[in-house]
Amino acid sequence: MRLMGARTLLSHSFRIAWKDVLELYRNKLGLVLLIVMPLFMMAMVGFIYPTSGSSVSNQPIAIVNSDAGYNNSMIASQTFTSVLQQINSKTDTMKLTTASSAADIKNLIQRGDIEGGIVIPSNFSASLASGKQGTVVIITDQSNPQVSATIETLLSSVFSEMNTMIAQQKVQALGITANDSLATVQPFKVKMQGVVPGVPNYFDFVAPGIMAMVVMMSVMTGLPAAISQEKEIGTMDGMMVAPINRLSIILGKTLGQTVRGLFQGLIILVLAVGLFGVTIQGSILLVFGLLLLGVFSFVGLGIVITSFAKDQQTATMLMMTLMFPMMFLSGIFFPIQQMPWYMQDISKVLPLTYASTALRKVMVLGAGIPDITTELTILIVFGVVMTAIAVPVFRRMMTR
C-alpha cells in the first residue's frame, strides 16, 4: 500500500517534470539563454579577473637615475638598471621610460602618462661601497594598488638576482669555482610540484565552482519562479484539484528544474573542457553525482522561499538577495583562505562552499568519494534539515 503510494507519487512527479521540460524545450529563446549565460560567465571570470601579477603587462613606468656614483663609478646603479631590464624583458610587465626627477615622476603620474616610477637616489653607489644597504624608492599611483604590488614583486626579484651576483663574485674571490659559487651563496632552492601533472590555470580553479553555482542557483531561482508563475496564471489550481499528493507537485517541479540545472552544468563542462582547456582528473559520474547532491541541499531553501513569496517578482528578488553573498563567499571566484576570518566563518555555513570545494577536489585533483566525505556529509545533512523544514511549510502554503 505504502509502496503503491510512493510509486504513484513518483509517476505524478515525472509527469509534472516532463511537462516542465517540454515547456522549456518549446521556449527557444530560453534555451539559447541557457547556453549563453554560462558562456558569458566563464568568459567573464576567465578574462577579466587577474590570475596573478604576471597578467599585468606593459605598465608604463619611469626610471630616474640620480645616482651620484662613488669614485666616479656608477657600476652599482648601472647593474641595477640592466638586471631590471633583463628580468622585465622576460615578462614585459613594465614599459620602462626615463624621467628627470622624482618631481617629474609625480607630475607624470598625475597626468596619467605613467602608472608609477622608480627612483635611484644619489647616494645609491656610495651607500653600497661604504657597506650600507642600497635603497631604491618606488613612487606609485595610490589609486591603483595593483601597480605598486607588481613593481614591488619585480624589484625584489631584481634585488635577489643582484644579491646573488654580488655574493657570487665575493665567494669566487675567495677561491671557490664559478660552478660551486651558486650553491655556496644559495644552498636552498624551491621547486614547485603539484598533486597532478601540468600547470592548472585559473579556469581549472573557477570552473568547478561555477558549475556548482549555476546548477544550484538555477534550481533555487527556477523553483520559486516556476511555482509562483503557475500560481499566478492559475494552472496550479488545475494540478491542485487533481487527486494527487501535494508532494508530487513540488517533487515534479524540482525534478524539472534539476533537469534544467544539470543541462546547464553539462554545457559549462563542455565549454570548460572544449573552449577553456580545463582537464578533468576525477570521475565525470562523481561530478554529476555531486551536482545532484548540491541541488538536493538547496531545494529545501528554494521551497521555503516559494512558500513565502507571494508572486514571481518577489520570489526572484528574494533569490537574488541570497544569491550574491553566496556567489562571492563560497570560494567560487576567490579562495576562501584569502578572506578575513569573519567572512570565512560565514562562508563555512553556506552549502555552496562545500559543493564547490568537493567538486574542485574531484575535477582538479582527481579525488574519489573517500576524499570528500566531510563535504558529502555536510551537504546531505544540510539537505535533510532544509527539506524537513520545507515540506510542512509547503503543505501549509498549498491549502490555506
Partner: protein, 351 residues
C-alpha cells in the same frame, strides 16, 4: 492523505443532495468573505451563485473544490467531507476556473493529456476521451496546435473540456462567460445545459450576469457580502417582488430633477428608485395605490410623464429589492477587496 477516514462509496443515493454546505465561514484576517453560509444542491441540478464581485461566490467555489480551507463549517460533496476526505472529493469534481488553466507552450492535446494523466485513467481510455472531448467542442482540427495561439473563445472551450477529463459528477464553473463575446457565451451555456441533460452532471455556476443565471440555473442563490440573501428558482425569486404586491414601474419623465427623484424616494409605497438615464426612472412600489401615489407625486412636482410602463421583474430587480443596491454598484466598489483576498499574504489568513 484522506485514507484515515474510510467512507463507503455508496453514500450517494438517488434524490439525495449532491452538495451539502453547512455553516461555511471564511475569514481573511478581519475581513469576513463568507458568513455562515448553508445550502443544499440536489443531484443533477444546475445551481447558480449570483452576486457582485467580492460577494463571496469565488471563495465558496474555491472552498467546495478543495482549493481553500474554510475557517469554520464544512461541506459534503457526494457524501465526502471537503476537508477530511479532500482526495475523494477531488475524484468527483471538475472546476472551470475564472483563470484559464492551460499551458500556452503545449498543444491542446498535450494540455489535456497532462491534466488527464494526474487522474487514475488508463491511457487508452484517456486517449479516446481526449479525442471525444476535443470533438465535442470542435477543436479536433486544432489538437496539435499550441494553445498560446488560440482565440479567447477557443481557450475557454479548452478550459471547459479540461475540467471534464475525469468525467466529474460535480462541475464548478467560475464566471464561465466572463470576457466572452455573445456568441461564445451562448455556446458555453448550451454546452453546460447539454452536459447536465445528458450526463446528469451536477453543476454549480457563479456569475454576476443576470442572463447567465436566468437562462442556465434551476435554482439561484443570491449572495451579498458573504451571506445568502435568497435561494429559489428564478421564477419564485421574481415572485418575491410581484407576488409581494410589488409593482415595477418604468417612468419616462423628460424634465426629471433631483428634487423629483428625492420626492419619489420618500414616498411610503416606494421601495427603491434607480435612475436609468436622464429621463427614465425605474422604481419598485408596493400596495394597491402604488400607481396613483407615484403619478400624483410626479405631477405635484411639475414633472411631465411621457411614458409609464408596468414591467416584469428581472433578477436585477430581485437583487435590488433584496439588498437595496444594484449589482453593478457594489461590483465596482468591491474589486480591490477581491484582489486583496486572492493575492493576500498567506500568513495573515486565519484558518
Amino acid at each position: 492523505m484522506s485514507s484515515t477516514t474510510l467512507v463507503s462509496a455508496d453514500r450517494i443515493s438517488e434524490g439525495d443532495s449532491m452538495i451539502r454546505v453547512e455553516n461555511l465561514t471564511k475569514k481573511f484576517g478581519d475581513f469576513v468573505a463568507l458568513d455562515d453560509v448553508s445550502f443544499d444542491v440536489k443531484k443533477g441540478e444546475i445551481f447558480g451563485l449570483l452576486g457582485p464581485n467580492g460577494a463571496g461566490k469565488s471563495t465558496t467555489l474555491r472552498i467546495l473544490s478543495t482549493l481553500a480551507r474554510p475557517t469554520k463549517g464544512t461541506a459534503l460533496i457526494g457524501g465526502y467531507d471537503i476537508v477530511k476526505n479532500d482526495t475523494e472529493v477531488r475524484k468527483l469534481i471538475g472546476i472551470v476556473s475564472e483563470k484559464m488553466i492551460m499551458y500556452d507552450r503545449l498543444t491542446a492535446r498535450e494540455n489535456l493529456w497532462f491534466f488527464g494523466s494526474l487522474f487514475e485513467i488508463p491511457s487508452d481510455v484517456l486517449t479516446q476521451r481526449i479525442d471525444e472531448l476535443l470533438d465535442l467542442v470542435q477543436l479536433t482540427k486544432w489538437k496539435n496546435v499550441l494553445v498560446g495561439t488560440f482565440s479567447t473563445g477557443m481557450r475557454q472551450r479548452m478550459n471547459v473540456v479540461r475540467a471534464l477529463l475525469n468525467m466529474p459528477r460535480v462541475l464548478f464553473l467560475d464566471e464561465p462567460t466572463l470576457g466572452l463575446d455573445p456568441q461564445s457565451s451562448v455556446e458555453i451555456r448550451e454546452f453546460v445545459k447539454k452536459l447536465n441533460r445528458e450526463n446528469g452532471t451536477t453543476i454549480i455556476v457563479t456569475t454576476h450576469t443576470m442572463v447567465d443565471a436566468d437562462m442556465l440555473c434551476d435554482r439561484i442563490a443570491i449572495i451579498d457580502h458573504g451571506k445568502v440573501v435568497a435561494l429559489d428558482t428564478s421564477i419564485n425569486l421574481k415572485k418575491l417582488i410581484s407576488g409581494g404586491n410589488s409593482t415595477i414601474l418604468k417612468l419616462g419623465v423628460p424634465n426629471l430633477t433631483a428634487d423629483l427623484l428625492e420626492t419619489l424616494r420618500t414616498l411610503d409605497c416606494v421601495q427603491s428608485v434607480s435612475q436609468e438615464n436622464s429621463t427614465n426612472v425605474r422604481l419598485i412600489a408596493r400596495g394597491d395605490d402604488a400607481f396613483d401615489s407615484v403619478i400624483d407625486a410626479v405631477r405635484s412636482k411639475g414633472g411631465k410623464i411621457a411614458s409609464i410602463e408596468n414591467i416584469q421583474p428581472t433578477l436585477e430587480d430581485v437583487f435590488l429589492h433584496l439588498t437595496g443596491h444594484e449589482v453593478r454598484d457594489s461590483a465596482d466598489q468591491k474589486i480591490p477587496q477581491e484582489r486583496h483576498r486572492r493575492f493576500g499574504t498567506p500568513q495573515r489568513r486565519v484558518r
